[in-house]
């Protein structure tokens, strides 16, 4: 019941906020969003699951109810959490609350609609991470698109219309490809599955895979489905060469939407890759490990190089996300406990760090109305605390020890280097490590020019101290980043607990 309450609070909250007067919408949405945040922390404390949700694990907060039966397949409301999804749910609720706080300053028109949409996204994101029936999951997955499309389109920057439609078309086409692949896979499984429950499908896949469909042999069908789904999720992650919607969406989106986009929406892609491709298709993972690793390394290096070439702070952070998501893919394809576990840890860690970075850029933009590196310098002089937190966050990004970024990247490299499944693993890992150098390069370069040195600003705005609520939410994020960096076991234990069955399913 707990997950239902979580989703229901956000959904009803969204409706209430939508009809509330603009004046109080921000505070109201904040108050409402505290409920799922607090509840999810409680879920975290009361978590009693073990194993992987798809592979006979003990689910926490499970609930299932029949929904509909058509032909040979039944569809149900089926939610539950395991060690992979729980940290992501907590990440979602916390980031949503902070995103709401960070909207107080920049959003000054149609507030009730804005905050209503944020809460609506929150409900669907919780649904994406907790749904265990393909159908239910897909409904939540797609339902995230519409509010994000509107957030970018209505409250975005000058090129918002282009960015919004590009975001929508890219991700929707990707979803259709993925959807078609998965449904044909389920048909191919024939009588061995009677529902769209993910555990049942995963079990059937591991027990022998599809029998074939329309004259395609079982193996061919599985490979095609694997590739189709990988492409579908790859757009969402995004990996090079499907990343071009991301910088446009980020640059045009209002800051709070960017926080959610980078912090949680990108994780939907990697989460789905882990849940579907890397759990259900161990044979295909092995067969396609090298090309996937190549894509991952290219994303890491190319994303970082693109970030290096930017002068817009938001674009820098946006491209650096492409790079960071490359690490996640590398960790997944390594298929070792540390690799896959590290990738999952990186999803959470990157959610926090990129959230913090976008928040800082937003704070600077709110005060200066520019994001161009060349337009400003010496911001530390005017907003010392906010800039201090920003610098700390940037170091987290670079992987400074005792910050969550370090733990995540260390796990991934450690896991990837010794991978048995991936050929040339040491080569791929070493190449990817080179990305860290570039990250340090562009972050330090950008910081040096914007926040250090003598104070200078090209736009006509008075820059004072950052608002307290913005600084407070940045400090909360920084605190979480450091906590996870000091004690990664807080979540890493439950993650590896849920990862182990996957790896064993793959025969390692």
């Amino acid at each position: 019941m707990m997950i239902e309450i979580l989703i229901a609070v956000a959904l009803v909250g969204a409706l209430v906020t939508f009809v509330a007067p603009n004046r109080i919408a921000g505070k109201l949405a904040f108050a409402i969003s505290l409920v799922p945040a607090a509840l999810s922390v409680w879920l975290f404390a009361a978590f009693d699951g073990s194993g992987n949700a798809l592979l006979d694990g003990e689910l926490a907060f499970e609930s299932q109810a029949a929904w509909l039966e058509i032909g040979d397949y039944s569809i149900s409301w089926f939610v539950g959490l395991d060690g992979i999804s729980l940290p992501l749910v907590v990440l979602t609720t916390i980031l949503c609350t902070l995103a709401i706080v960070s909207s107080w300053t920049p959003i000054d028109e149609r507030e009730s609609q804005f905050y209503g949409l944020i809460l609506f996204i929150e409900a669907n994101l919780i649904g994406v991470f907790s749904a265990l029936d393909f159908f239910l999951w897909f409904v939540f997955w797609e339902a995230v698109l519409i509010p994000m499309y509107l957030l970018i389109g209505i409250w975005g920057g000058p090129r918002r219309k282009y960015a919004a439609i590009k975001f929508f078309v890219y991700t929707n086409v990707a979803s259709l490809v993925m959807f078609g692949s998965f449904v044909s896979l389920v048909f191919g499984l024939g009588d061995s599955v009677t529902s769209f429950g993910l555990p049942e499908i995963a079990t059937a896949m591991l027990a022998g895979g599809p029998e074939g469909f329309f004259g395609l042999s079982g193996t061919t069908l599985a490979s095609l489905a694997f590739i189709g789904m990988f492409l579908g999720f790859a757009v969402k992650v995004p990996v090079v060469p499907f990343h071009t919607w991301l910088p446009d969406a980020h640059v045009e989106a209002p800051t709070p939407a960017s926080i959610l986009l980078a912090g949680v929406l990108l994780k939907m892609g990697t989460y789905a890759l882990l849940r579907f491709n890397f759990t259900m298709f161990p044979d295909q993972v092995e067969a396609y490990a090298v090309p996937i690793a190549a894509i991952a390394v290219i994303s890491v290096i190319y994303g970082a190089m693109l970030a290096l070439a930017q002068t817009d702070l938001k674009r820098i952070v946006a491209y650096s996300s492409v790079s960071s998501m490359g690490y996640v893919i590398l960790g997944l394809v390594a298929y070792t406990q540390f690799g896959v576990g590290g990738a999952t840890f990186q999803m959470v860690s990157h959610g926090l760090i990129s959230g913090l970075m976008f928040m800082s850029v937003g704070v600077i933009y709110n005060a200066t109305h520019t994001r161009m590196v060349t337009d400003m310098s010496g911001m530390a002089d005017r907003m010392p605390i906010a800039v201090g937190v920003l610098i700390a966050g940037a170091f987290g990004y670079m992987g400074l020890p005792l910050m969550s970024g370090f733990a995540a990247e260390y796990f991934i490299f450690f896991g990837a280097f010794g991978s048995e499944l991936l050929e040339y693993a040491p080569l791929f890992t070493s190449l990817a490590m080179f990305g860290i150098v570039i990250v340090a390069g562009y972050l330090l370069f950008a910081l040096q020019r914007t926040v250090f040195g003598p104070y200078r600003l090209e736009t006509d705005y008075e820059v004072g101290r950052a608002p307290v609520h913005d600084v407070a939410s940045m400090i909360v994020l920084l605190g979480l980043i450091i906590t996870l960096g000091v004690a990664p076991d807080l979540i890493f234990t439950m993650i590896t607990d849920a990862i182990d069955p996957i790896i064993q399913g793959g025969g390692l």
């Binding site: 939508f18 058509i70 032909g71 669907n124 797609e142 929707n172 078609g180 048909f187 329309f214």
Partner: protein
């Protein structure tokens, strides 16, 4: 069992109630011609259609007309001229729901109209005809019911007598309608000539004796398909639709494109499954008639979508989208096979029901815009969400639902249509093309549907508007349709069951 003390004709109650309501409205009109007592007239029409709806739902729930249940068998009226089974009741539900929504919305739309009583009685008469079509079981009664539907519809399209567009649309509709009626009647005569019967079951029994008149029968069937194509606005008799929908008062466009289309489909579903069972008919005429529907479905959906994408006028866009949706529903007949087909036909029926809400709602929003005096093009709709956020939110729901995006009702029915087509394609590979056409067209349709959402929510208004009035009736109808479009998704099970039972009533 109390039900069975009623005479048998009471089974036709949903249609009879509508007929009675129409007579009552005539009575009002004869007592007080030119009455402008809108509340009384609209109230009577709404009460009548709701009563019809309630009875149809009650009959469905009580098990009237269910096949295979002892004592609850199909009810024949007048020696099988009419038949009340699940199929008839299901479509009576759709028709009376749409009629109720249209009547509620007309309360405001007709505020300055001279011929109030005529309008409502014509609407209810047309609805009576549609309900009779659903229950007709002989080509004669079908034709009579069809004319009872068509004649009031012609008048309704042209009811804005001082509006050139409306009159012109009425004339076009009438001319094409008269032509297609003639073709339909000629088809009936050919079928009668070949089989010597008009009652549907008797036609099926006499098929084998048609012998060498197979060609004649084939021609007759082709002409019947022509009549169906007119009523459902499918290729090749679709071109009246954009003109008629554009010129007609918007509530009438909603009525014609939802209820009238449903009536056309129930006619097709019943005639082709009962009178021309696939195997026997193919043996006589030498061609499988589903081939015609495969071609019609593909051409109709593609043509509708491409034409809709190029429109600048919102009503015309909706008209072409309505043609596209007729193409989707035609799959229900195209994918029939000798072994099965009830699933895919059931899915098509579900789509018609969901369509009854989302399409009616969309046209009613246009009615609201006309009420406000907003112009006809996409640009004229720019920025309406600022003045009317609730109606605009409802319209966004309709648009996304029509495009088949979760989490709205349109997603379910389209998805089920897709999977059942793929399932049926296992026996008949040509259906894969149909499934592919469905997906591609659905993806494409998002372009023009989202264009309207963009206009409403994202674009800036071209000129400043004053505060817009909030007419109660129109708002109530639109919000009700939107709520239903959303609620259908979680509550799909009863609808799916009803539709599948309806399909099972005619498909073996």
């Amino acid at each position: 069992m109390a039900l069975f003390q009623l005479p048998e004709w009471a089974a036709l109650a949903p249609a009879l109630i509508l007929a009675g309501t129409a007579l009552v409205l005539f009575l009002f009109d004869s007592i007080n011609p030119r009455s402008t007592n809108r509340a009384l007239l609209a109230g009577t029409a709404v009460a009548g259609s709701l009563a019809s709806l309630a009875v149809a739902v009650w009959f469905t729930a009580a098990g009237v007309g269910a096949t295979g249940i002892e004592n609850y068998g199909v009810i024949d009226v007048m020696n099988g001229q009419f038949i009340v089974d699940r199929l008839a009741l299901y479509f009576m539900i759709i028709i009376s729901t749409v009629t109720a929504l249209v009547a509620v919305a007309s309360y405001d739309y007709l505020r300055d109209h001279t011929y109030q009583a005529e309008y409502y009685s014509l609407v209810i008469l047309a609805a009576t005809g549609m309900s009779m079509i659903a229950a007709s079981n002989s080509l004669v009664t079908i034709f009579i019911a069809l004319e009872l539907t068509s004649l009031p519809s012609y008048a309704l399209v042209a009811i804005l007598k001082d509006n050139r567009g409306s009159v012109e649309a009425g004339l076009k509709y009438f001319l094409i309608g008269a032509l297609s009626s003639a073709i339909f009647v000629y088809g009936i005569s050919l079928v009668y000539g070949a089989t010597g019967s008009l009652q549907l079951e008797d036609i099926a029994t006499n098929l084998s004796t048609a012998g060498e008149m197979g060609g004649l029968l084939g021609l007759g069937i082709l002409m019947l398909i022509g009549g169906v194509a007119f009523k459902t606005a499918s290729v090749p008799f679709h071109f009246w639709a954009p003109e008629a929908y554009e010129g007609a008062p918007a509530p009438i466009s909603a009525f014609l494109s939802s209820a009238s289309k449903a009536a056309g489909f129930v006619l097709a579903f019943r005639v082709f499954t009962t009178a021309f069972p696939l195997e026997a008919t193919t043996a006589v005429i030498g061609v499988d008639w589903t081939v015609v529907f495969v071609i019609l479905a593909i051409v109709t959906m593609t043509l509708g979508n491409f034409a809709a994408a190029t429109q600048e006028n919102v009503k015309r866009m909706l008209a072409y989208s309505s043609i596209g949706h007729a193409g989707y529903v035609l799959i229900g007949l195209a994918a029939l096979s000798t072994e099965a087909g009830d699933l895919v036909m059931g899915a098509a029926m579900m789509h018609l029901l969901v369509y009854g809400f989302m399409n009616t709602g969309a046209f009613l929003f246009v009615a609201l815009a006309e009420y406000w005096g907003v112009g006809p093009t996409f640009e004229d709709y720019n920025g309406l969400s600022k003045q009317a956020p609730f109606a605009s939110a409802a319209m966004a729901v309709f648009m996304f639902s029509l495009a088949g995006v979760p989490p709205f009702g349109g997603f379910w029915s389209k998805y089920l249509l897709y999977t059942e087509t793929v399932n049926a394609a296992a026996d008949n590979t040509i259906l894969l093309v149909l499934a592919a056409a469905l997906v591609v067209n659905s993806a494409l349709s998002l372009y023009y549907y989202s264009r309207l959402v963009k206009a409403l929510w994202i674009e800036e208004p071209l000129l400043d508007r004053d505060r817009l009035a909030q007419p109660t009736g129109l708002y109530a109808a639109i919000i009700a349709a939107a709520v239903m479009t959303v609620v259908i998704l979680p509550a799909f099970d009863p609808i799916a069951t009803a539709a599948l039972e309806a399909a099972a009533a005619v498909v073996g």
